[in-house]
């Protein structure tokens, strides 16, 4: 899965979420040397109440609203672009329902 994270890799060090995927205005000098983090989004759809925050504020636009309903009748999020996830865990922190969490990719030893 390493190959999926080319020059666009970004880490929000200050955690400030951004609506748009940022563009680097210059090339990091350690590009290619720093470990590229890869996350796997896991979900417990039954807990979701459809607030949409995870979808809205994911810096990499990994998630979209699912067409499907959960047991409570909410549209829960769905992972649309798994390869985009960089394990920033913003969705995990933001989710008010404890419905979404991340695992680091096993390729990187898990977490």
């Amino acid at each position: 899965m390493d190959s999926g994270y080319p020059e666009k890799l970004t880490m929000q060090m200050d955690g400030t979420p951004q609506a748009e995927s940022p563009q680097f205005w210059r090339k990091p000098i350690d590009e290619g040397k720093a470990p590229k983090l890869v996350g796997v989004v896991l979900m417990i759809p039954e807990r979701c109440k459809g607030c949409g925050w995870c979808v809205e504020f994911c810096p990499r636009k990994v998630l979209v609203i699912s067409e499907r309903f959960n047991i409570k009748g909410y549209h829960y999020p769905r992972v649309a672009k798994p390869e985009e996830c960089v394990d920033c865990r913003l969705c995990e922190r933001l989710c008010p329902e404890f419905a979404i969490y991340l695992k680091r990719s096993p390729a990187q030893g898990g977490s």
């Binding site: 896991l42 807990r47 459809g50 809205e56 504020f57 922190r93 008010p96 404890f98 695992k103």
Partner: protein
């Protein structure tokens, strides 16, 4: 203890071998889920950040107590798998005071709402700050009384509607960080429910802090505040946070007034060190014990003044003979991470 086995992985990424469920399930009472909070409410996020901060800072779960008052936020104590106390309206801080002073080894956290902490419990808040009790107070401010159906709160911005201010709120709202800092709190911060990473960091800092920490978390109340005031849903408020919030560490809390619109000043405003009530008390106790042993020494034959010492043995009322030294504190040092550099460290425990 935990009857529900969380269903994992469905429709997300593939379930991974060895996945042991949501990392917060360990600290949450999953047998009480789902919680009562509405979709788009920030309370779950605050609890989530709290749980993460607890997980990340390595604090002993068993030594951590959570006390809540009444209201939507008041339910937080019931969802955390810690020693949790759901008390009466406004009284979380005095209950926490008792827990903390009877066992200073505990880390006692109060999680409650703006109405609970600043209206009915306002007096307790300012006095706890003044005493510099070693407590963490997390105040979730959603501008309204939620659980009782959307009544006007001391934090409701001027002009905003509530069931008990149908023509708009007439009162000026509290600036809670200013209230806390001017009362003597030693760590004062404000974040919105969007600032999850910063919130976790401040929580961690507060858990390690010795002194009174006050953290205001601005949170959407989509059902009762926003809908009535035609402000959209929870997501709309989060978007407002994104555009309006202004991070300014070390800002004067005086400038942190909140309106229905406009900038939301966030950051760690105050971080200083000052002797806590428990420290001052222990210092006094040590000095009393010292003075007592000196008196005993003098009372021995050949001691300095046998005539005076011990003369009142049967009736000694035990008036403190030695006055405790006034607490030293650095009230000047305002701003994040300000250490009392160069000045004598504030005694954390008596010798």
């Amino acid at each position: 203890m935990n009857p529900e086995t969380p269903k994992k992985g469905t429709d997300g990424g593939d379930e991974l071998p060895g996945s042991d469920g949501h990392p917060m399930d360990r600290i949450l009472r999953m047998d009480r889920m789902p919680h009562i909070w509405c979709p788009g409410c920030g309370l779950g996020t605050t609890v989530s950040c709290f749980a993460l901060a607890v997980n990340e800072c390595g604090i002993d779960y068993d030594k951590l107590c959570v006390v809540s008052g009444i209201g939507c936020t008041g339910r937080a104590a019931g969802y955390l798998r810690l020693d949790g106390y759901h008390t009466t309206h406004g009284r979380a801080i005095p209950f926490a005071t008792g827990l903390h002073l009877a066992n200073p080894d505990l880390k006692v956290v109060v999680i409650s709402g703006d109405g609970d902490l600043s209206a009915i419990g306002g007096n307790h808040l300012i006095h706890a700050a003044r005493r510099n009790l070693n407590l963490v107070v997390i105040c979730v401010n959603n501008f309204i009384y939620g659980m009782t159906g959307g009544q006007v709160a001391p934090t409701t911005p001027e002009g905003m509607k509530a069931t008990t201010s149908p023509f708009g709120c007439l009162e000026h709202p509290f600036n809670l960080p200013y209230l806390a800092s001017s009362s003597g709190a030693t760590l004062v911060a404000r974040w919105t429910t969007l600032d999850v990473r910063q919130m976790v960091n401040t929580f961690k800092k507060a858990f390690m802090k010795k002194g009174f920490s006050f953290i205001e978390v601005i949170s959407p109340c989509p059902e009762l505040y926003m809908r009535r005031n035609k402000l959209g849903d929870g997501l709309a408020m989060m978007k407002r946070f994104q555009s309006d919030r202004l991070v300014k560490h070390g800002a004067d809390p005086k400038e942190a007034d909140l309106g229905a619109t406009g900038k939301i000043l966030v950051g760690e405003f105050v971080n200083l060190d000052r002797s806590t009530y428990a420290d001052a008390y222990f210092r006094m106790v040590s000095q009393l014990a010292e003075a007592k042993s000196v008196r005993k020494e003098e009372a021995k034959p050949g001691g300095k003044s046998p005539a005076q010492a011990g003369a009142k043995a049967p009736e000694a009322v035990g008036e403190p003979k030695a006055k405790p030294r006034p607490a030293e504190g650095d009230r000047e040092g305002r701003g994040p991470e300000k250490k009392a550099a160069g000045t004598p460290a504030v005694a954390t425990s008596p010798p």
